[in-house]
Symmetry: C2
DNA sequence: GTCTATACGGTGATAGAC
DNA sequence: GTCTATCACCGTATAGAC
């Protein structure tokens, strides 16, 4: 990294060199922060939120304890930043999946609910950490706020998609269509429940089982689109295209 | 309490008096333990699992810190007992509801899923505490074990009811019946999701909304019994019989 | 930026009087 | 059984050298 900056200095343009060097330093700083956040997630996974200490995080990151304080100031701040990271990653995943889905409403709905089951998001570690924060959310307003903002964004997007799907189902002649807000609530609740199930899974609830359940849920809500759901949630979202 | 024992002594039957006195002592002991467990739940609710201390629990219970140690030995043990209490209460509620439901399979299914939404179980405090333990479950095998045992019992009972409901739906001529294991998983996941939703509810997800969602879920799974679900989950389980 | 050493406060648990 | 007093430990955060 610093070597790049040094090479850039060879250009003779002092300003450019300084810029690159600054970028490099910023990149290093961001890298170290990410490294510490990763270590924090690992520690919370291993020891829980209560027994996560600055010393453990520092050890896992392979640096001294002082470094953690230097970059995050306080333990609380470190945890908050870790949660923010998870939240941001979550948002990016569902927006990415949504973008990949194109314009078709049913595809977009599949993409949205399928996003919650993307492998990046449902590793044991991350599910553990999410629920650790859930558990303390009532005691830490900041946690609650971050989680709430995440849910809010997601809910708004999902509600729109559900409304579109309901309209499409009616147009396709389906009788007894569940109201859009209920559809959205049912899907969100199912998603949350699946996360918890995968976390606690004694009965080995894995990604494939969760996908099958989600697919079935969509099918009972919108029988007319059964084939669509199956196609999207097993081929595109499946582990392999076969 | 001690007064009762003293009165009993007046009977002249030494053995009886001793028995009653012992019972009274045991009752006192149990009462004190329960008092401390309640205080623990309150503390976890207010401060989270991490910042719950023996001192806080003692203060909330209005006793000295030494009492807590005397009755539970260690902080870990206190927390475990608190979780056990919740778990036991949970089991008793769904078994009670099941008993009230009689023999009809559909009623029993309604009772089972409705049990999770009984007011006793879904107070803010208890939901908070449950999820606090969920979050730390991966780090504390004991927590995981207790939660797992609870889920296991519930799952076994629910699976049987779902199988019965599926059979009934087929007998009633419903087309495309969801397999019983999936029905059970979907219902469990929905329940868990609703608990989380009620805990996090920015969008005020209350008991009535949750009941409506549960009712709707059963209806899309078993359209032939729609009227049954609505009757059971809004009249019997509702806040008032009207 | 990174480290070590340390001050400070709080927590879990013990001891012993009542 | 319940209390108070106390200890030993550990985690956070600070200070300052490099």
């Amino acid at each position: 990294m610093t070597r790049i900056a040094a090479t850039a200095e060879g250009d003779g343009t002092g300003i450019t060199a300084e810029r690159i060097e600054r970028r490099s330093r910023l990149a290093n700083k961001a890298l170290r922060r990410q490294q510490l956040i990763d270590a924090t997630l690992e520690s919370v996974h291993q020891s829980g939120l209560a027994d996560t200490t600055l010393a453990k995080v520092a050890t896992l990151a392979g640096v001294s304890q002082g470094i953690v304080v230097f970059h995050f100031g306080t333990k609380d701040q470190l945890l908050v930043e870790a949660l923010r990271f998870l939240s941001e990653e979550y948002r990016q995943v569902w927006q990415r999946e949504l973008a990949k889905a194109g314009e078709d409403p049913i595809n977009r709905l599949c993409a949205m609910v399928g996003a919650d089951l993307q492998p990046d998001l449902i590793s044991r570690k991350k599910l553990t950490v999410w629920h650790a924060f859930y558990g303390e959310a009532k005691a830490h307003p900041t946690y609650l706020e971050i989680c709430g903002a995440r849910d809010e964004e997601y809910a708004v997007a999902l509600n729109a998609l559900c409304a579109a799907a309901v309209a499409a189902a009616k147009a396709a002649g389906q009788a007894d269509v569940t109201p859009a807000p209920m559809v959205a609530d049912l899907l969100v609740s199912l998603t949350d429940g699946l996360w918890l199930g995968m976390l606690m899974s004694k009965w080995e609830l894995g990604r494939n089982e969760a996908l099958a359940l989600m697919c079935r849920q969509l099918t009972v809500l919108f029988p007319v689109f059964a084939a669509r759901f199956e196609a999207y949630l097993t081929v595109e979202q499946g582990s392999r295209k076969r």
